[in-house]
Amino acid sequence: MNENYFYHALRIDHKICFGCTLCMRNCPTEAIRVRNGKATIYENKCVDCGECYKVCPSGAVYVAEDDFQSIYNFKHRVVLMPSVFLGQFPEDIKASQVYSVITEIGFNHVFEVEASAFLHTILSNKYIREHETKKPLISTFCPAIVRLIQVKFPALVDNLIPIKAPVDFTAIYIRKKLIEEGANPEDIGIFYITPCAAKIAATKSPVGEDISTVDGVLNMDTMYNIVLKEIKQKKEFNKKITANNDVTSDCVIFSLTNGERRLNNFKKSFAIDEIHNVIEFLEKVEDDEIEDLDFLELRACDESCAGGILTCGNRFLINDRMMQRAKKLAERERNGETSRRKAIMNEREYLTQNSHVGKIKPRSMMVLDEDRSVAFQKLTRIKEIESKLPHTDCNVCGAPSCHALAEDVAFDRANMTDCVFMQRNLEKRGSLKVEESVEIMKNIWGEDKLKDYILNK
């Protein structure tokens, strides 16, 4: 696979997009432009955070997912369900009902992702203790954050904890168990229910390693609809099926903000959610402005995975349901009704051996050219172009800011005359005809937006 290639699950349906610029204006990495009236993504700048999906008013931004029917390519069909999935359902729906329905819609096994979160924590904490010189150590739980650091904060790539995510551990564990039970490895299909696009992207092109631990990804909203419909239409539930007891109370809320941080006791650590907050903080970390920092839990979404773009319902309510579930579980752990030691810990050694993600490489989108002299020329050109632009960041050129346009011009991806202020100036001088300006605008905004509305009315 090409080293510079990032798989992206976020796509824009050009049949629906009407070029409103909202996604472009909200993209934290300036990865979107409007061309021919439609939003388009610069793939090497996109980190799959999903901000565009959140703000899109027309539903044109979508998340590519695997076909549900593809589960039938496998004889042993496993679904990996993150705890946040159960948090979607209203209080009157029990976990056992969700489990029961999932086994009836095609899956043979249901397993909660966070089953391995405890082991993940043990390994992360060990790594942090053993790498004092690399502080602050940054969690790799959120794949959008990993990509953000790769492209925007390459100096911090070495601070990332190179340990697989809980979903990978759990997948490896289940695969091993099924093989031990006699399953043919090729017959095992492990499917992950994802709350966001970044997890899909990370699954399709894993950071630092080449083989994915799961066979397919299903979007959480799709699964929510399928499961809820079944539950609503059912009168009887299979009483024999109860919710697995795979996860400890503190790991049920692992994917929420502070979920990782509360499981360690480092002197100085932060849990920061929402990508703009993260960027603001990382700027400081990069400058060594914050001293003696041990650990950072960073999540791209507000309220972490409860705010994932594919979750259904309000993120605060989802958060609360998960907290309530953790509370109940903790109560049962205290009463001795359930053990905190889970079966997965028996495979601790095997999982530890397979815990490393390999080298995470920087993929800076900031560097203008590998050759410093060429980069310097580009930089000079960008500054020169930028000084001529109006600094209004009006978006009429189809770029998110005057600076972004200057960069695009320097890289021959756009023209100075895309700027509407530039057009007026040139028209005044007589070196650009109005018809030519209209043509330029049509290239950016499409034919429709430049129809002669006034005369037709």
Partner: protein
């Protein structure tokens, strides 16, 4: 050669770091070693804080080319009476108020010296101080 200027306002700690983070943004685009960028940022930041805390504000002049960055911080300050002492680690003339804000640890000038290739300080008591620092990208 690329030239940029920043104004530093006396006592405006809230905006300390504006110049150094702008410089960082620029250097990141030039594929310069991350450790080198960090050093420059630290040195400029310290100089910014000095101009804010000790002087009556000033101007930062940045000259950049392919080989090096040269940063000149000119302040309209009280000047440094004893440069040798000011270069000592831990020596500070910062007021209690400034120290309360977490500044004035006496590491300013020593920190700058440690992070740059060339450092030249011109100072005149009652007139001001000019700190010129150069970092070569290839060294």
């Amino acid at each position: 050669m690329m030239h940029t200027e920043f104004t530093v306002v006396e006592g405006d700690f809230a905006n300390a770091g504006k110049a150094s983070s702008e410089i960082k943004k620029t250097l990141k685009q030039l594929n310069i070693d991350n450790q080198k960028i960090k050093k420059i940022v630290v040195a400029v930041y310290e100089a910014e804080v000095n101009a804010i805390a000790h002087a009556y504000g000033g101007t930062i002049y940045v000259d950049l080319d392919e080989e090096k960055i040269c940063v000149l911080i000119k302040d309209k300050g009280p000047g440094i009476p004893d440069i040798a002492r000011a270069m000592e680690k831990g020596f500070s003339t910062a007021s209690a108020k400034v120290r309360e804000m977490g500044f004035g640890a006496g590491m300013g000038l020593p920190n700058i010296k440690n992070n740059v290739d060339e450092l030249d300080i011109q100072t005149e008591v009652g007139v001001g101080t000019e700190i010129k620092m150069i970092v070569n990208f290839n060294s």
